[in-house]
């Protein structure tokens, strides 16, 4: 075993510091915190603990603005996942996390280990994972490299999720050129736990054994956290060894072993080893416990020979957990993990020194105060400034926008866009039924899972529109929360909590930091107004390549609670039902998919969002669902009302046409009526004899309401003030919608029929 990593002083020169991702100032702060020059191992430890990914140094002061409390919140941000009381003695445990940078370098393993990581965050809390969702962004599919990334990411999520037996029940995929070198892979997981048996990641009890369980440690993923905290450049492909490699079979064993462990009373705390592996898990657990930790790396099970303390502390090998055992329970724990054929070893103990001590047998490789690594991490209040071009982009004079083509043609074009078209090609590769809990399968506004043994169902949706956030990050942030909530409400479920994944460019650029701050303010205002606390989340900065960054992309995951008997889906169910529009259509085309795809412009202001109107819409829709009045409910989003109506017609196996009549008393542009993305609107279908009651309930809530037509027939016809503006065969709409994505993957652009 080599000793060079424990040799201090002279090996640390400015190049070594810089390669570790620390600035000169940060290094000076580290030296000051230690009271001396760090060893190489200590430098490695500090570099990952102080990386953006682990320390949130650029985001912490802004994240404080998000509302995180509520009567039903059992656990807010600060632990591995958040938890909300759902009744019947159960807690919903959930979180969303990003794995963007590894997925660009090695898309299959990057996505697979993203799934593995979020699963561990859930079951480390004592919750059995019951559902996965993913939010993905790629560059346009006419480029072979983007097709490759997309196919391999989906394959990675499929390969890992299916093997471990947790259903992937929903998500979203969108395509835009700015994601070409910066794909986004955000993975959400929901689990269930007994609410009085949640486990936390705290190292307490001086003298208690610290145990390592799971897979053996290898050299994969070293400095993964640092890699996620930097932009990409020409040399990025060489970073492949930094991508972790996942084994879903081992994770399945680990999941079952951990849940079995948690049914006993053997442990004080447990945390998964994710980014920065053994380093972050030991520091964070000790930090929360106000204790210290001593680790002997020679006791860590390794699968490669000659691993140094540096490598062992920084490895991001997957499928490993760190736990603190209650006194005398070590042998029982070892026996339990032996049954599942997993490693279990005592590798250290909890101390009262407040220090992290890393030994290699009798040699000390690192000794650092924990608080320097955790609270002592840099906290930046980076400069903010709106992008100079923004005001110009926000201008959109509708009078100057020509009327081109025909609305019917535009509808088919929009339906065939990969961002809007059917995602069946994706979710057919995910086992979305394992667990026998999925009552609403992928394809509706939200996925819905039953909770066996109760009359409760949980609805889940992830959503985020980056174009809105680019044009006005405050409004875009609000809308990200509102859209996810609205999807859940359309399923008949009341939102009970949110998690967020914030994907942004380089925070050292004032425009990016300004976008981040404004998005958070928007999200915070929306969460407060809508009564939805943020219980967990993740920040991913540095989604930039060669200076070109992504649009601000906050992805919000919302969980809602419904009664199992009142669950609603988005497609029309029968001929002869009334189609009713809840909400008001305004004349706004800014930031719409229609404006981008047909007019090739990304400008204007995003649609307005009146949070008060949005809240009333939810109450109205939930009352309608609870009263059993709804045949279907679908919110208007990308592509506006026309696309929403078409989706109601084609998104189930049994197509149902519709005849729609829209009044236009104020003489709006027809394309704004059809494709504008006004917020706070839901299209519902109801039995003919229920229309009066629906209108009465909506009026009582102060929600604008109008019956706009009837379901039936094999065409979708939309009439505005007596003129037919859209008249397409449902079969043609269905073809455009269902073939949009597969056609794009063949390397050709899809043309409307």
């Amino acid at each position: 075993m080599t000793r060079q990593d424990s040799e201090p002083q002279d090996d640390i020169d400015p190049r070594v510091v810089s390669r570790h991702g620390l600035t000169e100032d940060e290094y000076a702060a580290l030296r000051s915190g230690l009271g001396r020059t760090p060893t190489l191992v200590e430098l490695g430890i500090a570099s990952v603990m102080w990386s953006e990914h682990c320390s949130y140094k650029s985001s912490r002061i802004h994240l404080k603005k998000l509302p995180t409390t509520g009567a039903a919140v059992l656990q807010g941000p600060g632990e591995n996942a958040g938890a909300v009381d759902i009744g019947d003695g159960l807690a919903a445990v959930f979180k969303i996390e990003s794995h963007n940078h590894p997925s660009f370098i090695e898309p299959y393993q990057g996505a697979a280990t993203g799934v593995g990581g979020i699963l561990r965050d859930i079951f480390t809390m004592g919750a059995r994972p019951i559902a996965l969702l993913d939010s993905l962004r790629f560059g346009p599919l006419d480029d072979v490299k983007n097709r490759y990334l997309f196919e391999r990411v989906v394959a990675g999520i499929s390969g890992y999720g299916n093997c471990i037996g947790v259903p992937t029940v929903g998500g979203e995929v969108a395509f835009h050129e700015l994601y070409a070198s910066n794909p986004l892979v955000n993975v959400f997981c929901l689990g269930l736990a007994p609410k009085d048996r949640l486990f936390r990641a705290k190292a307490s009890g001086v003298g208690n054994s610290v145990m390592y369980v799971g897979a053996k440690t290898g050299r994969d993923g070293i400095h993964g956290a640092t890699m996620a905290s930097e932009e990409f450049n020409e040399g990025s492909a060489a970073k492949r060894p930094m991508v972790q490699v996942g084994d879903p079979f081992t994770e399945k064993l680990l999941l079952e072993a951990c849940l079995e462990l948690m049914a006993h009373d053997f442990i004080v705390g447990i945390q998964d080893m994710g980014a920065a592996g053994l380093t972050s898990s030991s520091c964070e657990m000790a930090g929360r416990g106000g204790t210290g930790i001593e680790i002997d790396v020679s006791l860590v099970p390794t699968r490669e020979t000659g691993m140094t303390p540096y490598e062992i502390m920084l490895s991001e090998s997957q499928e490993r957990m760190l736990l603190v055992a209650k006194p005398g329970c070590e042998d029982a724990i070892k026996a339990l993990f032996a049954k599942w054929e997993l490693e279990a070893a005592v590798i250290g103990r909890v101390t009262d020194t407040g220090r992290l001590v890393v030994r290699d047998l009798d040699q000390v490789a690192a000794e650092m105060p924990i608080h320097v690594l955790t609270e002592g991490a840099p906290k930046y209040e980076r400069p903010l400034a709106p992008p100079p071009f923004l005001e110009m982009l926000q201008g959109l004079a509708l009078e100057g926008l020509p009327v081109v083509g025909s609305p019917g043609q535009h509808l088919l074009t929009l339906l065939a866009l990969p961002t809007i078209a059917s995602k069946a090609w994706v979710f057919d590769q995910y086992d979305h039924m394992v667990g026998t809990n999925t009552v609403v399968l992928p394809g509706s506004d939200a996925a819905v899972l039953r909770v066996k043994g109760t009359s409760t169902a949980l609805a889940v949706s992830v959503d985020g529109n980056s174009r809105y956030c680019m044009l006005n990050p405050y409004v875009g942030g609000m809308i990200a929360v509102a859209e996810a909530c609205r999807n859940v409400v359309c399923s008949g479920a009341r939102p009970i909590g949110a998690t967020d994944c914030l994907n942004f460019g380089n925070p050292e650029r004032p425009e990016v930091m300004w976008q981040f701050a404004m998005v958070i303010e928007g999200m915070a205002d929306a969460c407060r107004a809508l009564g939805v606390p943020v219980v967990s989340g993740n920040v991913s900065f540095y989604n930039e390549t060669r200076g070109l960054g992504v649009y601000p992309t906050p992805i919000v995951g919302v969980v809602g609670k419904a009664a199992i008997d009142h669950v609603t889906t988005q497609w029309f169910k029968a001929d002869g039902d009334a189609v009713v529009l809840l909400g008001e259509t305004k004349e706004e085309l800014g930031g719409t998919e229609y404006l981008a795809s047909v007019h090739h412009r990304e400008q204007g202001l995003p649609p307005e969002l009146d949070l008060d109107a949005e809240k009333k819409l939810y109450e109205c829709c939930l009352e309608l669902a609870a009263a059993g009045l709804l045949q279907s409910a679908h919110d208007c989003s990308d592509g506006g009302l026309a696309v929403a109506l078409a989706e109601c017609c084609v998104s189930s196996e049994a197509w149902v046409g519709a005849e729609i009549e829209i009044a236009n008393p104020r003489g709006f542009r027809e394309d704004a009526l059809l494709f504008g993305e006004s917020q706070s609107r839901i299209v519902v279908s109801v039995g003919a004899d229920r229309v009066a009651r629906v209108i009465e309930i909506a009026a009582r809530w102060g929600v604008p309401v109008a019956r706009v037509g009837w379901t039936g027939g094999d065409r979708l016809q939309i009439v505005i003030e007596g003129r037919v503006v859209v008249d397409v065969a449902v079969a043609d709409a269905a073809k455009a919608w269902s073939e949009g994505l597969p056609t794009s993957l063949k390397g050709s652009t899809c043309a409307p029929t």
């Binding site: 299916n162 057919d428 590769q429 995910y430 086992d431 039924m433």
Partner: protein, 231 residues
């Protein structure tokens, strides 16, 4: 009816099978760990779906070597009922309890979808409650479900009426969609000579409750219950 559900490392659908057998069918159910040398005294042994041993080597290959499989073979030899679902079917084939092979889907991708499955034979203990030719809606979820057997084996299966289920187009869907994975002769499920061991790729336990979209799979379990009470 007394049911044992074998749990291998990597089985995923074991709890689903237990839940359906206990809560929907009303049987008494227990899980049995793969390392057990003996089976409890039961009427029906279920080998559930999942990814036993992560599909290392070949699907079902390692699980077929589990200690419990000797007891499963003995139970089958005595005429006891054995039901292999998805990975369970793969394990039955690797164990020699059923003939043929299950290969990678023709599309080379995992497929999760509800498909049409036609009941070809109602003279097995698992299919008496169906009508001959009835087309069921059952979910599949697999990457390696393409059934293959050599010509003599196929001929034997046909001659002996041991092809129990075939994939079929759902009403109103194009015929081209009928065979989702390229299985030879669209075979979805087969039985042994004694007709007491059934393997099928579709998941009947996922189609046993209206709440999940349909109950076409329930009759498979109910037929098994019937077979224990006489005839």
């Amino acid at each position: 009816m007394k049911v044992a559900v074998v749990v291998f490392p990597g089985s995923n659908c074991d709890r689903d099978c237990q839940d359906v057998a206990r809560d929907v069918v009303g049987a008494s159910v227990q899980p049995v760990w793969h390392r057990a040398a003996v089976l409890p005294s039961v009427d029906l042994v279920i080998l559930p779906g999942g990814f036993s041993y992560g599909d290392y080597l070949r699907t079902g290959a390692l699980a077929a070597c589990s200690p419990i499989m000797d007891a499963v073979r003995a139970h089958a030899a005595r005429g006891g009922l054995v039901l292999g679902i998805c990975n369970g079917f793969q394990i039955l084939i690797e164990s020699g309890l059923l003939p043929g092979a299950l290969l990678r889907n023709a599309s080379l991708r995992f497929i999760c979808r509800t498909v049409g499955v036609r009941v070809e034979r109602t003279d097995t203990p698992f299919t008496t409650r169906y009508t001959p030719g009835q087309v069921l809606r059952l979910p599949i979820a697999h990457a390696d479900g393409s059934y293959w057997a050599d010509s003599p084996t196929l001929q034997r299966l046909r001659d002996e009426g041991r092809i129990v289920f075939r994939y079929a187009a759902l009403p109103g869907r194009p015929a081209a969609e009928a065979n989702p994975n390229g299985s030879v002769d669209a075979i979805a499920g087969i039985c042994n000579e004694g007709r007491n061991v059934l393997g099928l790729m579709p998941h009947p336990e996922r189609a046993s409750e209206d709440q999940l979209g349909g109950r076409d799979g329930l009759a498979l379990f109910e037929s098994a219950v019937d077979s224990l009470c006489g005839a």
